[in-house]
Symmetry: C2
């Protein structure tokens, strides 16, 4: 649906736009939208372990949050899969021979266009990669038979969706 | 973690703040955070149906998205449960005699503080309530034995988490 008018009211790492719409029934609504690069997240598994990360999350004032390795598609021209491969190397130090796209979701479609695509990465091997200096990441290896226990501790939506999808009966 | 300095760079329905942090290891990082009211979402069930909604989502340019009834905690002093009760009445026209808090998640903790608390509402009955004039909502009654089929169509993170939690083996 095309807005009647649209104005960018903030430009930074995210942009904020205010747009006016008219529905078919004549109803007028105004929406404030936070525009953001899309993102990817990876369920990385070998025969023994699921690879998660712990990192500080200043946005939600948490000293550390347990999450899937993930990242923003901020490299021009990069595909979702290429971004996932780069982030797996940067955050976990691994490459994967088997990649599978699982699903995608909008993280909060009431106010932002952010979309996250989830991948499963298997058949892992070590790889050298530079870490992102803006991040402070600890790798957490979770034995596969303990994944069910840690799911209750996950409070990051993309990570919870990935783990419920792969490790529940709907996987 | 307290920022060294913090500046509000945009004020609207959401606020945007830029803050500077120094980690224990001396590393300096800057974060842009979108501050937003928290939200609630409801898995509303009777003996036969799950109650979902379809609504236009201009932020993600979708003419309609299938979601759990949900809303923002924008009434001062309102608790999560009170907000869920209000939204269930406004969006579905129901009240529930049985409420259960399931879990909460951060929708995208890399850039926003938004937190969504999920409730299960059962033992439903009709109630009169005014609709929000800024919303255009269709109620969708999904027979309980068809919920599994529609989970694949859900692309809203809070809705997918709620349905996977209640209708999968981890429920």
């Amino acid at each position: 649906m095309k807005p009647q008018s649209s104005q960018t009211v903030y430009q930074g790492r995210v942009n904020v736009e205010i747009s006016d719409y008219i529905y078919e029934n004549g109803q007028k609504v105004q929406r404030e939208v936070v525009r953001k690069d899309d993102a990817v997240a990876i369920i990385a598994l070998d025969q023994e372990y699921l690879y998660l990360i712990r990192q500080p999350r200043e946005a939600v004032d948490e000293p550390e949050l347990l999450e899937l390795p993930a990242g923003t598609m901020d490299v021009p021209g990069e595909s979702e899969l290429e971004c996932a491969q780069r982030e797996l190397a940067e955050e976990i130090g691994k490459k994967a021979n088997h990649w599978e796209e699982l699903l995608w979701v909008y993280t909060s479609p009431g106010f932002t266009n952010e979309k996250v695509t989830l991948f499963k990465a298997m058949d892992l091997s070590d790889v050298d990669a530079e870490q992102d200096l803006e991040e402070k990441i600890d790798i957490v290896k979770v034995p596969l038979d303990e994944v069910e226990e840690i799911i209750d501790d996950i409070v990051d939506s993309k990570s919870l969706i990935g783990l419920l999808t792969v490790f529940s009966s709907y996987g």
